[in-house]
Symmetry: C2
Subunit: 424 residues, 2 copies
C-alpha cells in the first residue's frame, strides 16, 4: 500500500502545513463526526460536499429498514405512518436547521418545483406588481424559473447590483425594489462565491417595499444556522443533498411563513394538498396550513434519508458544525494566501467569516485545465465552475484540516506543472 | 405454526375452490415470478398491488449498490452516470411497457407535477380553446390539477358522460369535445371500476376535434400492454409504485409524442431541462426533445428502483403478465358470482376481460365495516374506497389463485358475521 497523500514524498514545502493540520485535527471537537459517515481510509480529500454530501452510516441502515420492513413487509399498511412524513420531517428540519416554528415547512418535490410553487403563489397574491427581482448571477434554476414565470405572465425581471465576491447587500436590494415589485428571489449563500447574504436586512427592505422574499437555502442549510422566523423571511426553499447529506436527488423542502399561509395558494393542485385526500368525490379545497403546498405522493425513501440527515445534524449540533466550518474556511484562506496566491490563484470568497458560507472559491485563468488534471489523477475531489472558478467545499462534519492541506498541495503542484510544461 | 389460511378449518364451503385454485397455481407459467419479490410464507393475501406494488428482491440489491457504492464511494463523480438516468430509464420504460419509441419518455417528479406540466403545455399551445374535458369520476389528482389550471386561466371544465362500470367510450368523448376544446385528460384504467379505456378510439375522436389527449397511465402501466405511439396518444403520465413495483413515492414518468415536442413548452423551467445545464451563465433555452420536460435534479435512488421494476417486467414479459392477470380477474369474477353475490356484493368491474385492467371492484352497502373488520384481523390486505367499494387488485406476478379464494372466503365470512351479529 503506497502513501495515498498526493503531497507525500516530494512535498517538503508542505511538511509544516501538514504537521500543523494534524495538530488541528487532533484538537477538533467534531473529529468523531467523520466516523458517522461512510468513508474509506484511501479516500481522496473530498471538497465537494457543497455539491453532494456524503452518505451517513445511519442512512444506509434506515434505507434498508424502510425498504425491507416498511415497504417489503408492511406494504400498503405502512402508509398510515408514511402519510405524515412531509410535514413531520418538515417540522423537524424547521426546528433543527431553519429556525422555523412548526407548521411552516414541508419536504417534497425538487427545489425547482418548490421555487416555482412559491414564486407563482407570491405572484398570484400581488397581481398588480409587474416586476420580479433576482441577481443575475443567482443559481441557474432560480433564474430560469423566474424567466419562465415572467414570460408566461409578461412580467419584467430586474437584477440587483452586486459585488461578485460579496453578493447582494440590503442597500443594493433596496435600490432594486419599489412599489412595482412583487417578489425578490435570492440565494442565502451564493453558489459561486460562497457569500452569505444578510437575510434579516434584505427581508426588511423587501418587506418595506411591500414585496415578498423567496430565499433559496440550498447552499446554506446544514452548514449555516438559519433563522427564518426571526429574520422575517417570507418564503424559502432548498435542497437536501448538499450539507444535509440526504443523497442524490433527495426531496427538497419549502417554507411558507405562517402569516402568509391563508393568503397564498400554490398552482399545482394535487391530492396530497387537499383537505382529506381520501374523500375523493369532493372538489379540491386546500388543506389548512403548510400542507396545502403539497401536490403528489410523498417520496418515502427520500424522506427517510432527509430525516436521518436532519437527526445527524441535530446530534452534531449546528453551532458546532458552523464553528468548525469557519475554522476550516479561515484556515483554507490562510493557506491560499501563503501558497496559492503566488501561483496565480485569487480568492473569490469573502474574507470575513461571518460573510461566508462553507466554501472557499478560487479563480485561476487556467482553472479548467487544473481541475481536469486533478480529475484524472483522482487525488482530490473538488469542482470547477466556468469560466475560471475552483470551488472547495468544506462540509464540516467530514472534512479535516489535513484534507485542506492535501487539496491545496495538489492545486499548487498542478499549477506548477502547467507552468513548467509551458516552459518546457 | 398454525395454518395461516383464514378459510382453513371451518370452511368446507371453500374446500373445492381451494383445491381448484391450487391446481391453477401449479399450472401457472408465471408462478416462479413470486420468488422474484420479497414475500413471507405467513403473508396474508395481498390484493392491493394496484395501490403499492411489492418489493422486488433485485431492487433491494440495487438500492444498496447505488447507496453504498455509487453515492457512498463514488460521491459526486457518480453524476456522470446518473445524469442520463431520466431519459435512459424513460426510453427503456417506453420500450418495455408503453409502446413508445425512444426520446419520448422521461422519469421524474410526481404524477401530479407531470400532469400539471403536460396540461399547462397543452393549454399554452391552444390558447384560443377555453374548455378542458375529463370525467367527473377521474382520479382526484387529475381533476384537481385541471381545476387549478382552469381557475388560473378562466377555463371551463366539462365532464364526459360515462357508465360507472364501463367508463368513458369514444362516442361519449366525441359528444363532449368540439372546436372549443383544448385537451381531454382521462385515465387509461379507471381507479374505481378498473375499466380499461379504448385509447386509440378516444385519441382519434379527440384528434379529430383538434384537441390533445393526456392519458393517466397510473393504473395500467405494468399490468396492461400499452401502445402509445400506435394509438395516436398525444401526452401521458403515470406513477411507478403500483404495478411497476418501484416503491412508495417513486418518481413518475411522462410521455410527449415526438410530433408535439417542438410545439409544446412546459412551464417549470429548471436547470435539468436546459440545453447544457452546466453552462450556467446562459439564459434558459430548453433542450431539444423530451429532456425539455425535466426541471430539477433527478431522484437517483428512485430512478434506480424504476429501472429495476422495468427490467423485472421485461423478464417476466408484459404479455404473459397480462395473460395471467386476465386469468386471475376472470377467475375472481366467477368466484364473486358464485359465492359473494348471494351475500349482497355487486360486481362493479367490466365482465369482458378486454375492457378490464388488473383489478376487480365490488360494491356492498356495508363495505366500510367489512373492510375495517378485515383490516383488524389482518387476514387479507385489500382496499376500501368510499362510499361502498372494495377493490381487489390482482398484480399478476405476485398474486396466486389461492390468494383470491382466501380473500373471497374472508369477505364471505365477514359479511355473514355482520348479518348474524345483526340478527343476534
Amino acid at each position: 500500500m503506497t502513501d495515498p497523500s498526493p503531497v507525500g514524498e516530494e512535498s517538503t514545502p508542505f511538511a509544516e502545513e501538514l504537521a500543523e493540520a494534524a495538530a488541528l485535527d487532533r484538537a477538533d471537537p467534531l473529529a468523531w463526526a467523520r466516523e458517522q459517515f461512510h468513508t474509506g481510509a484511501q479516500d481522496p480529500p473530498y471538497l465537494d460536499g457543497n455539491s453532494l454530501g456524503r452518505l451517513p452510516r445511519r442512512s444506509l441502515i434506515r434505507l434498508l429498514q424502510v425498504a425491507e420492513e416498511e415497504w417489503g413487509h408492511g406494504l400498503v399498511r405502512s402508509w398510515s405512518g408514511w402519510m405524515g412524513m412531509p410535514t413531520r420531517v418538515g417540522d423537524r428540519l424547521g426546528e433543527v436547521l431553519l429556525g422555523a416554528g412548526p407548521g411552516q415547512v414541508v419536504v417534497a418535490d425538487s427545489t425547482s418545483v418548490n421555487l416555482y410553487k412559491l414564486a407563482a403563489a407570491a405572484l398570484d397574491a400581488l397581481p398588480e406588481r409587474p416586476v420580479v427581482v433576482t441577481d443575475r448571477a443567482n443559481f441557474p434554476t432560480d433564474r430560469y424559473l423566474l424567466a419562465g414565470l415572467a414570460a408566461d405572465r409578461r412580467l419584467k425581471l430586474r437584477s440587483v447590483d452586486f459585488d461578485e465576491v460579496m453578493g447582494p447587500t440590503p442597500e443594493a436590494v433596496g435600490s432594486a425594489v419599489g412599489p412595482d415589485t412583487a417578489l425578490v428571489l435570492l440565494s442565502h449563500v451564493d453558489y459561486r462565491s460562497g457569500a452569505l447574504a444578510d437575510m434579516a436586512g434584505i427581508s426588511g427592505v423587501v418587506r418595506d417595499a411591500g414585496a415578498l422574499t423567496v430565499w433559496d437555502l440550498s447552499h446554506s442549510v446544514g452548514a449555516v444556522p438559519i433563522t427564518l422566523d426571526q429574520s422575517g423571511a417570507d418564503l424559502a426553499a432548498g435542497c437536501t443533498y448538499k450539507y444535509l447529506n440526504a443523497g442524490p436527488g433527495s426531496p427538497a423542502f419549502l417554507y411558507v411563513s405562517r402569516h402568509l399561509q391563508r393568503r397564498l395558494q400554490q398552482p399545482i393542485w394535487g391530492w396530497m394538498g387537499k383537505r382529506d385526500p381520501f374523500a375523493m368525490e369532493e372538489p379540491y379545497s386546500p388543506q389548512e396550513g403548510i400542507g396545502s403546498f403539497l401536490s403528489g405522493t410523498p417520496q418515502i425513501l427520500g424522506l427517510a434519508l432527509v430525516e436521518e440527515g436532519v437527526e445527524l445534524l441535530a446530534e452534531l449540533g449546528v453551532e458546532r458544525v458552523r464553528a468548525k466550518s469557519l475554522a476550516l474556511t479561515d484556515h483554507l484562506v490562510g493557506l491560499v494566501d501563503r501558497t496559492l496566491e503566488p501561483l496565480g490563484f485569487r480568492l473569490a470568497t469573502p474574507r470575513e467569516g461571518q460573510r461566508r458560507g462553507s466554501q472557499v472559491t478560487l479563480r485561476h485563468p487556467r482553472a479548467r485545465e487544473l481541475c481536469e488534471r486533478l480529475d484524472r489523477s483522482g487525488e482530490v475531489i473538488l469542482d470547477f465552475r466556468p469560466p475560471d472558478r475552483v470551488r472547495l467545499g468544506c462540509a464540516a462534519p467530514t472534512t479535516s484540516f489535513t484534507d485542506l492541506v492535501r487539496a491545496v498541495g495538489s492545486l499548487a503542484r498542478s499549477a506548477a506543472e502547467l507552468v513548467s510544461e509551458d516552459a518546457g
